[in-house]
Point group: C2
Chain length 335, copies 2
């Protein structure tokens, strides 16, 4: 009881395989009478085309690959969902891989996806061994970079300016009177989004002739944020603002502040980045930067498809807006 093939359908409908193929792919090329007969045979047999065979004959897989740092993060999940929706609408299938923030793993996954026939790739950020770009070039697999945007880099990107967004947030905080600022971030190594955000903090400070009081790099989870905050305030008790590289760290920091009995924002202000649902549910709610996940995912999908189909696509830079909430307040004693 094997699955029916084009030939089976052709036999049952009394036509050639070519005609069946046409009915399925270009119905207008077949006269209605025959088409109806063929479609009936298709239904009767419960025929479903074999994708591998089609891909082989057509020399197209209609598959797009995506390598993201992790699925266990609302920001990528939401963007990816939008990405997937658009792709599916365009008749493409999405192959997802996650690297766990490990460059080696990422390289592996990229190769695997290409081997699997990915015609285009969605990648996060720019930090990547140069050999990879060369490989993709050689394999003629286009890619779009999302969640970041660097005009100095070649290649198509659909993202936002991490540095500018963070800079705007910190500038606003400085206007509130903050002068002693510390930062908690995911490891900068191999993560250009984190580095850009860090650079944004420094830029805002520098503009006012200030320097960062302390910078703590910590694993990307709630616990990390909590411990980092405690460390910061132990070392630099004068700090009035702790800028976090993302909402998860910020939520953890909030908890850390609670543990050492500090009131947010009265004693200390804390900010995040990403505006995931968590940012709204914690108390006080997190001041953060809203990243347009969905828009980015959709735009990225359109870009990859365009790249695959026409060989070109436009860069697209989205707006990441400051999102002020209760965790950022006026410092107690502006210096």
């Amino acid at each position: 009881m094997k699955t029916p093939t084009l030939e089976d359908v052709a036999a049952r409908a009394g036509v050639s395989t070519a005609t069946v193929s046409r009915c399925l792919n270009a119905p207008e090329k077949v006269v209605e009478r025959t088409r109806l007969r063929v479609m009936e045979a298709v239904r009767d047999l419960g025929y479903a085309p074999n994708f591998s065979a089609r891909a082989l004959a057509e020399k197209r897989t209609r598959t797009i690959g995506a390598v993201i740092p992790t699925m266990e993060n609302a920001i990528f999940a939401e963007g990816l969902q939008a990405f997937q929706d658009v792709l599916q609408g365009g008749g493409y299938t999405l192959l997802i891989a996650s690297s766990g923030y490990d460059p080696k793993v990422e390289e592996d996954q990229i190769r695997t996806l290409v081997a699997r026939g990915a015609e285009g790739l969605l990648l996060v950020g720019y930090d990547r061994a140069p050999a990879i770009a060369a490989f993709l070039e050689a394999q003629n697999v286009p890619s779009v970079i999302a969640w970041a945007h660097d005009t100095t880099q070649p290649g198509c990107s659909v993202g936002f300016d991490n540095r500018a967004a963070m800079r705007a947030l910190v500038t606003h905080a400085l206007e509130l009177g903050h002068r002693r600022v510390a930062m908690i971030s995911a490891p900068l190594q191999g993560n250009d989004r984190a580095r850009e955000r860090h650079a944004g903090v420094l830029a805002a400070l520098k503009e006012r002739g200030l320097e960062l009081e302390a910078m703590v790099e910590t694993p990307y989870d709630l616990e990390g944020g909590g411990e980092a905050l405690q460390q910061v305030l132990r070392d630099k008790p004068e700090t009035t603002l702790v800028v976090c590289g993302n909402d998860v760290l910020a939520a953890g920091a909030l908890e850390g502040a609670r543990i050492i009995g500090l009131d947010v924002p009265a004693d200390i202000s804390i900010t995040g980045f990403d505006d995931i649902a968590l940012a709204r549910i914690v108390r006080p709610a997190l001041a953060t930067v809203r990243v347009p996940h969905r828009d980015m995912g959709e735009a990225a999908a359109r870009a990859v498809v365009s790249l695959v189909e026409t060989g070109r696509a436009e860069n697209r830079i989205l707006e990441a807006q400051m999102c002020l909430r209760a965790s950022l307040g006026t410092p107690k004693r502006p210096s």
Copy 2:
């Protein structure tokens, strides 16, 4: 400048395509001297096998599909990640689709995945049109059901007993003295996990001769939980315990309680389900049920692979443990 094929490699190495194929798939069947020569040609040409061609010839895609309700939920994301890790280790590729909790979409995705060559499927829960099982049967595509477990249902499942877990949690709450209990749940329609949890609540109550004070079904998000809580306490102000079908609703309910000025757990206790990171970060921390996401994902992956390769796999039921935290306390005025 087309990508090199097996034939190109064969020509360059001065052997037949069969030998090259062997070098790649069963190196031990080729003598070292030839193998080295072939491998060199492979490297020189930057040869990468064509998956579609291989799948077509082998009549195997080494692809597994998964349809989950949504990616934007930590619980599925984590389980899926584990699922993916195991599959990849076994040389399989994962195709992910999400249904947005829409049965029609789910059916579509299942058909798409099968058409795409999925050799096995991971599905969430049992609620599904019977036609789908028939279709999978006909296509000879095995599936494993995760995130639920129902011994009365046929098919392989890797999950946990939603009803028993919820029942245990509520029974514990009743022992603390709660008598007026309400529930907030995601819509029960088409969601057997939600129904089972609901049944668990009812069972625990019945054992004590009690009934549910109120039952609110609401969309699955923070806002829904908040509004539902306010509604419950407006209608049944005597309620001392609000059991939520999942942590997200519970976190929303916590916020709802804060809005109407109720202290948790002094005035009202609230419980969740899933034990996602959110449960630990909100205040008070959520009493909930810990679901073994990772274990489930891994076990499910092993089960699908076994099903695909040997045609059989064992059911696997995991432990979902009660997880007591501050949001569940003794009622003020046990009746």
